[in-house]
Symmetry: C2
Subunit: 328 residues, 2 copies
């Protein structure tokens, strides 16, 4: 049995899985919004211990625990840097050592998008394919690439499809640049766009739904509910998001020409199949190989995908399609 933790800006999801990738125990906790890395590490350890208990184990009995983390991950040393969505995460944090101490087992950390892409490739919607592009549509827009069965990481920074330029001189992105996909499609950018529209006098239910749900930001759930209420601004902003995602994913496909696209991430999963179809349609006008468009699938592992993917970082006993190798 192996553990997996998906560390997100909003939630910590922990799972314990068997060698076939079946979930035997799980626990979800909110990510601490105050404190610092130590508090985050403690919450992560707590979630994993609870998941292990649900599987009838102590964490020390696990073969190990894999972690998918935002920020820049030094996998070899277990260090996470610049995780801008986590509280007071300044400089380099030795998260691997902290967790290994707390859980009394070995810990391996990788980038969250890499881990989620591996999970869909090995156990989810990517299984039929050899080369995929994973598109994680959430707070930001991340991309994971697997080419002929191997992760493609480039010099370490590949897959940034959220920062492909779809409109030169266009909207300001949370990254500081202009006209990126994420500037139109990321949850964070969408919230900023919605706030500016409201300041200019546009009407929307978005912030009322947020307050009613006791949230302090426009979560994926808030966007989903606003669509159900047929909120005009939510529709308009998400239409622009789909347009930007379509152009960006098409551009990525024009370069990579992979077998399939898998859509995941908080917003992607919440908006689900109808939006996966809309993104597929938005790709078409820009796709060079339009005679033979690669299929677009929704991520199959859903909310647990990141944590299950993280568990794959621990080399399993004899899983069929084990740890995804890195190209080269």
């Amino acid at each position: 049995m192996r553990g997996g933790i998906d560390l997100g800006g909003t939630k910590i999801q922990a799972v314990v899985v068997d060698d076939a990738g079946r979930v035997e125990g799980e626990q979800r906790l909110p990510t601490p919004t105050v404190g610092g890395p130590q508090d985050v590490a403690e919450a992560m350890a707590g979630a994993l211990r609870a998941a292990a208990r649900a599987a009838g184990l102590d964490s020390a009995e696990l073969e190990g625990v894999g972690v998918g983390s935002p920020g820049i991950v030094d996998s070899r040393r277990g260090i996470v840097t610049s995780a801008r969505n986590l509280p007071n995460w300044e400089g380099s944090v030795p998260l691997g050592d902290a967790l290994a101490d707390a859980l009394a087992t070995r810990v391996r950390i990788e980038n969250d998008v890499t881990v989620a892409t591996d999970a869909e490739f090995n156990l989810g919607a990517g299984r039929p394919y050899r080369s995929i592009l994973g598109v994680f549509w959430g707070t930001g827009v991340g991309g994971g690439i697997i080419l002929k069965g191997k992760r493609w990481l480039g010099r370490g920074g590949a897959g940034e499809i959220g920062h492909m330029v779809v409109r030169i001189g266009g909207a300001r992105c949370p990254c500081g640049r202009r006209g990126c996909v994420e500037a139109y499609a990321g949850r964070k950018a969408l919230e900023e766009r919605a706030r500016r529209r409201v300041e200019k006098g546009e009407k929307t239910e978005l912030f009322k739904i947020m307050e009613k749900r006791g949230r302090d930001r426009l979560t994926s759930g808030v966007w989903g509910r606003a669509l159900e209420h047929d909120d005009k601004l939510a529709h308009k902003l998400l239409d622009q998001a789909v347009e930007a995602l379509g152009a960006g994913v098409a551009s990525a496909l024009n370069v990579l020409d992979v077998d399939a696209v898998i859509i995941g991430g908080g917003l992607g999963l919440r908006l689900g199949e109808p939006y996966a179809r809309r993104i597929e349609e938005a790709i078409m006008p820009h796709l060079f190989a339009s005679d033979d468009p690669p299929p677009v699938h929704l991520a199959e592992l859903g909310d647990l995908g990141g944590a299950i993917g993280a568990s794959l970082l621990i080399r399993p006993g004899r899983a069929a399609r084990a740890q995804t190798p890195v190209a080269g």
Copy 2:
């Protein structure tokens, strides 16, 4: 000794090279603009025979002849389809068989961009690197990708960086889509843009230079000369081309994160080092890994690169870094 032919819309370049890639003979002829595939094949055979003669050989004495061709290339069967810049090239043309008969040696055909990328990787500016993006800025904008020493072709259509979207709803591209890099940067699109500006009353030397040189289109040489004359419209349109190339190449780098970019193609080579530096600068505002930008080099093999690359399609005796393998 091996032969190589670069088949372009404007010229046919033939070379004969030794196993180390040294050019022992070469010949350049204009591509027939009337007639059909048979005339093109005859001109190609003529150019190659002249190059062989210059090397003191008969074409039948060559180990074989490689061809870089535009259009869709079925390499296994030697068939070229949809080569839209060649005269009356309708349907599928068995170019390989026609040339093998005419030259009395074996012939292997590949896509021209693939071949030129291989050449720069093996013998040119790409030698120090394992993963490169080749950008061929000419009539269109093509891209060739080598990842960890292997060609990346995807499902057969990878590398179309000319059709990455840099402005949603932007300028019409010769491919029929909108806002592609090529719509701003390709020589064909640039000429259309220049003609429209002239129709609207803008002044330019471009068409006068074209006529003085006895050309019927704005060749790379015409653009280069217009810049030397400080032609305002030429500067303006090429500024927009550089902006689009910068955004497109940056987007490709954000996805691929390769070690280096090599700029070639008719316009790229004619405008040379100053424009390679301008493209490098235009990449920066959009590059996610802006702390560590990959170097941008001008193609080293120059005008002969395509033909030398084509010669590499014939497996050499014992060249150091022989035929570039395909990923997978």
